[in-house]
Structure formats: C-alpha cells, structure tokens
C-alpha cells in the first residue's frame, strides 16, 4: 500500500523541493539538510478515520507521518510505544506537578536509535540497497546491524576503538562488518562521510546527512501526547549529540497540534549535554547563531560526545529557540550521581541517558520551574550497553557461601538480616 500523504523533501536552506522517491542525502543544490514534508491538509481531513489507536503500539502507528512511500516495505521490530513512567517522587523533589521518564532504553536494540534506523532500513528496501552503513559511537552501529538483519541485508559500521565491548559484540553478532577506527567521534565522522561521498560503494548511509532517518524521532511527540491523554508537557528534556531528537520532536509537536492531537501551549525543548563536550548548549547560552565546535575530550557521556554537530547543530539551535527552551550542561560527577539515582528507582540506563533527569534538577535548583509544570525526560540507552561501567560502580561479593550456616551468617551481616 502506498503512502499518499508523504510528498517529498524540502531543503532547510534553499527551499528547493524534491519528490517522495528521491534517493538523496544533503541537498544537491546547496549541501544543506533536507526535510520531509507531507500533505497536511489531507492528513487533517483524514486523521480521525485513520483510527491510530486501533493499530499496534509502535512508531508505525503513525506511518502516514513517516517519509516512506510503500507501506509493504516497512522493516520493523516493534520499535516505539515504550513505557512513559509517572515518577511522583521526582516531581515532588523538583517541586513540579508531574514528571515522566520515557523508556527508550527498552527499544529492540537497547537504544533510541531504533526509532530512526527502522526508517532507514525501510528506505533501503524501497531504494533496493543491499547494505546499510553508518558511523557510530556504538548504539547506532548496533541498531543498524539489528535492522539490517531483520531486513535480510548486510551492514557495515564504523566505530571508535574505545567503543564499549557490549555494543561491538552486539553489532558483530548480527553479522555486521565492523571497522574499529583509532579516532574520536567527530574525526571518525569526517572519515566516514568522505567514504560515503566518494560513492565507491553502494551502501545506504544511515549517517547524519540522511534526510529520512530522523523523521522517526517525531514519534516522541506523538507518543508523549498519547500517554498524557491529549496534553503536551511544559518541558521535554533530551540528551543531545547532534540534537536531532530535539529538532524532530519539535517538528512532531508542531504537526500534532496542526492535526488536533492536542491544543494549548507548545512544550519547551531542553537540550542536555555534557559540560566537557556540549557545543550546542554553549551556543544556546551565549546567544550565538552558529555552533562552535568544542574541544575533543573524554566524558562519561560518551554517547553524546559530538564535538562538531555541523549543520544539525544549527537546526537544533533553531528548534530550542522557537520553542522557548533552554540548554543545560552537566558535569561528569553530577551525571554519575543521577545515573545511580535512576538505578535506585528501577531505571537501568547508560550514564549518558541520565542527563535529562540531571538537567531537570539543575533547572529546579536555578529556580526555573513552576509548581504547575509537567516534564518528560527521555532515557535513551540501556544499562547493558555499558555494563563495564555498571560493574565498576558496584561491589561484587568477594566470596560465595557454601552451606546453610554460612548463608545465615552472611545474611546476618547485611541490612536485610
């Protein structure tokens, strides 16, 4: 079945339009990002009769708002529809009305990437590619390997040689060709893009220039509105590497209001980065129009450590400002504190993923929140993704007990005895 609502791509810079079948990365005219667009009049007319709620609870529930042409080519592992957990204890500590954690760490490959890679796997099928490719700090590589396997095609992924072993093993187990590169994430990205631009290989690029991929992130907006029974929250707290989660969630909230999924105020988008590698937040806070690359230094927030977000960074600046949002830097020590705090309430995520919650506490401390505020933090990657760091942060029992006497003795020494 064809998607009659998806109409094509439009350049974010020169406004040139391309048809819905265009197999493009950046705009061929001006080398800026392309943005999918839809027949919103027809969508408004038809929205109610599409009966979204009767469909399976994944991103394809909103397939008419996805940039796919042929619904029969959809590649899916049931990504989306994750729990959005009410956390009244956190709301109380922050002094706000409601606080929710959106559990993207429960997606199929264990990270947020699946919302976007499901789209690229589908586009690869539409365009007839046999290989999916990407550069990655680890999560995107795992997602690309996973969805290529589901699609029945190959994958090739490029990761820094410092990538946690679990992410590497996961990609390899799904039969990816994996290339370890001795470089930081931004340098790796430059190398990878030069390979893609050489057009030597017929790979479907799931990297930062792909105009289709990020549309999957609009589902943040749709799912949050659905969970809040037709409301938008006051703040969305999002971990940012390139910032496209913010750009596309913002697009999603604008579309959703246009389509009548909620009314009232737009939410404010909060861009959350490490203070060590957080160039977008620096630009937001300094009032700059452009993002100046940051230094390339190690941080606990390894999944977010993009020193140069290139074109995407400016799109993010625009989205944050349009929404009336803000940017928050978090230092490594604070991040680790909130990572452990989340584990203490049953949330098993990687350190980078705690940055939204950490940022909310910073906003509360700075007096920026109101009693009536409703907030949603996206928690983006599973604790399993960096299990080495989990192991570093727990005390493994040194000895095993061998019989009942030893067992009772052990219990008596603990606080549950």
């Amino acid at each position: 079945m064809k998607n009659q609502y998806f109409k094509g791509l439009k350049c974010t810079h020169c406004n040139k339009e391309y048809g819905p079948d265009a197999d493009l990365l950046l705009c061929p005219e001006c080398e800026h990002l392309l943005d999918p667009f839809y027949d919103y009049e027809a969508l408004k007319r038809d929205w109610k009769k599409l009966d979204i709620k009767s469909r399976p609870n994944d991103i394809w529930r909103y397939k008419e708002l996805m940039p796919v042409v042929d619904f029969d080519k959809i590649v899916t592992l049931g990504e989306g529809g994750v729990p959005i957990l009410d956390c009244p204890e956190i709301a109380k500590e922050l002094g706000v009305k409601e606080f929710y954690i959106m559990c993207d760490y429960m997606l199929p490959s264990g990270s947020l990437k699946d919302r976007t890679i499901a789209i690229t796997a589908t586009k690869a099928k539409e365009f007839g590619y046999d290989v999916l490719s990407c550069d990655s700090s680890g999560n995107k590589a795992a997602s690309v390997a996973t969805y290529a396997a589901r699609a029945g095609i190959k994958s090739v992924v490029f990761v820094p040689d410092t990538t946690p072993a679990a992410k590497v093993a996961q990609s390899l187990f799904h039969n990816a060709t994996l290339v370890k590169v001795k470089a930081d994430l931004s340098t790796l990205s430059e190398m990878y893009r030069s390979v893609i631009r050489s057009k030597k290989y017929r790979w479907y690029d799931c990297g930062i220039d792909n105009p289709y991929r990020y549309e999957g992130k609009k589902t943040y907006a749709y799912e949050i509105i659905d969970r809040l029974n037709g409301r938008a929250p006051d703040y969305i707290l999002q971990p940012a590497s390139l910032g496209m989660s913010i750009v596309k969630a913002w697009k999603g909230f604008r579309e959703a209001r246009e389509l009548g999924m909620y009314d009232g105020e737009f939410p404010k988008m909060v861009c959350c980065q490490s203070d060590k590698v957080g160039p977008i937040v620096s630009a937001i806070n300094s009032g700059a129009d452009h993002v100046t690359p940051s230094k390339r230094v190690p941080t606990v927030a390894s999944a977010l450590a993009v020193a140069d977000p290139v074109l995407n960074g400016e799109e993010t600046l625009k989205a944050v400002r349009e929404s009336g949002g803000t940017g928050i830097h978090t230092d490594d020590e604070t991040l680790l504190h909130y990572w452990k705090k989340l584990a203490g309430i049953g949330i098993f995520c990687e350190p980078s993923s705690a940055i939204g919650v950490a940022s909310a506490y910073k906003m509360a401390k700075d007096g920026k929140l109101r009693e009536s505020d409703v907030m949603v933090a996206i928690v983006t990657g599973s604790g399993f993704k960096d299990i080495g760091r989990v192991e570093e942060n727990v005390s493994m029992p040194e000895k095993s007990v061998e019989d009942l006497n030893q067992l009772y003795a052990y219990i008596e020494e603990t606080d549950v005895g």
Copy 2:
C-alpha cells in the same frame, strides 16, 4: 480503587479456599500450590465496558484478571505489551501459515521475569513488606532488584556463583543485597526455601511457592490474542524451567475464551527444555504422572536448568496434556545454531531463549505441523544478559584502522567492499 473481581486463592490439591487478602505461600493444609480465582460471571458481564484497549499497553491493561486487591498499590515499569513479530521467512521454512516471535527480551529488566515480579512487588506493597527476596539463576534476581527499587523497598537475592556477571552487576546496581552460593540451581532453591520456611526474616518471597506471582504470565495469552486480532494460535512454544509460563498461559487462554476474547480451538502448549536438564519433557514423553528429577549437569540453556521442578512440574504436565500439547528436548549444539539464526534476523536474545524456535524446527522435521498452523514462540531473555557468550561467538576485529588509506584497504577485504 479496589479489584472487585479477584476473589481469593484455591488449593490445586485439596481445593480449600482462602480470601483475597491471604498472605500465603503454599496451602497451609496440604502444602500444595495455591491458584488465584476470580468472579468470572461478573467479569463476563462487565468485560466490554472495561474498554481494555483504551488503556496503556502493559500487563495492567488486564488488571481485573490479576490477583491484586488495591489498584492504587500497583508497582509498574510498563512491563508487557511487547512486540509479537511476524516472521514469514521462518513460517515458510517450517511449512506453516504464520510464525510469530513474542519479544519478552524487551521487558524492562531484560527478561520475562518482569511479568511476574511486577505482581509480587505490588503484593509486597499491599501486605506492607519492606524486602523482596528470591533465589534465581540470574534473571529473576535482576527483576526483583529492579522492581524493589521501583517500589522503594529493599531486595535480597540468592544466585549460583556461576551466574553471568551482567546479571549480577544489574542486581547490585539496583541496590540488591546479593548472595552468591556455590551450588547448582536446584540445591540453591532448597537452601533458599529452608530460609523462607524458617520465618526468621520478614521478606516477601518471590520464589516458586508464591501463589500470586505467576498470574502475570496469563498475559501471554491475552497479548497474543490481541495481536492476532481475536484469534488463538495453534501452538505456543515456551521455554520451561519450572514450566509455570505454560501453566499460566494455558489458564489465560481458558479464561480468555470464557470472556469471549476469541472463539474456536484452544492452542496446544509446547514445553521446550534442554536434553541435558529437561525432566518435564521427559515426563511428558514417557507418559508419566510425576516428574522425576533429572541429573544436574551444565547446559547452554542455563536459565532453564531446573533439575527438580517439584510441585510446579506436575502442574505443567497437566497443562500440556489438557491442551493436547507436547514436549521437545533440544541439545546444546542445536540450541546455539538457532540462537545464531535468530541474531541473523535481528533478534538479540540469550541462548536459552532460542529453544522455542529450535523446537518448532524439530516439530517440522518430525512431520508434526500442518500448512494451516499458526505458531507463537516466546523469546524470554535479552542477549545482553549473557554478553560473555555473545563475545565468545563473534570475531572481534584484531586491529583498529588509523587513517583513510587503511580504512579503504580494510573495506576492500570484506564482502561489503
């Protein structure tokens, strides 16, 4: 809000009944398993107006069929409502009409246990306990630690000292008191039960005797029927340790038909175990009324290696036979083969979890399947749970590339170059 439909516990052996507030493990009269029961007449009368489909997509969508008294005490991390993936390639290879994989590896703590531990965390809150406890091969421990954290109470878990490090670290990171025991799973279970029976500690036991816990597994039936748009499949393939997934899914399918969620034939329950430690399957195939404990030997299917399923084993025998089902043994080599096959189609699970799919291929080979069959295999634990074994089964790249020339040379050597 109170659950007016949950009516109490009934002994599976002596039929003695207890009220819905009973804080019991085994039947105090005869030491057999207790089974929750409900006011089915009232449920039949009210089912449609409960409007199940308008609720969040988790196990609590069916809360009236759960053995909880006070809905306000529900402890949840959004468990349930997992993807049930259509796998036409597998269906074709098996020569059946439809084959689905139910992704319980995507539950919050990474395994099926969350369906049951969400119930015990809720009961602990109802009964006023401050500690959740269990014995475990690792997954249940992680789940108990996770849900205790969400409930704001403590946890104490007992695991064999051979438990994979990831499962141990996960439990500890959620602040569990973890006791490593130098013993196999059945010996550990005996030790743990003697601690519980000593009543020395006020712990809420999430172990094998708990009458509330397993009811969460009835949701297998409800979710499958919902995914198949009001149909029941012909076969449900379930990995079995004690077999309670089978017992309770079977109960769920009987209840669901009673309530009009589907009509037509009941599904047949297939009990899937390792040939090394597979005492329930041995009993099914030999026509025995009782389960004879198997030898205690290591197997790849470590999460299923219960040598003595005690009372639960007999309940499983009954359920399999009532449904017209069967039992299938799988050897380690075959299991690893299907585990890798699943990775090759995008499913990242632990080896034990591939046993349902392996069993389906055995049934096909033995000529037991028909062209019209619809089958669902439950895939129960995440690949992250035993990442060490994943790492053993992939070839890590030995070297990193350092520049573009090396990168191109590397690509040329691969099958994507």
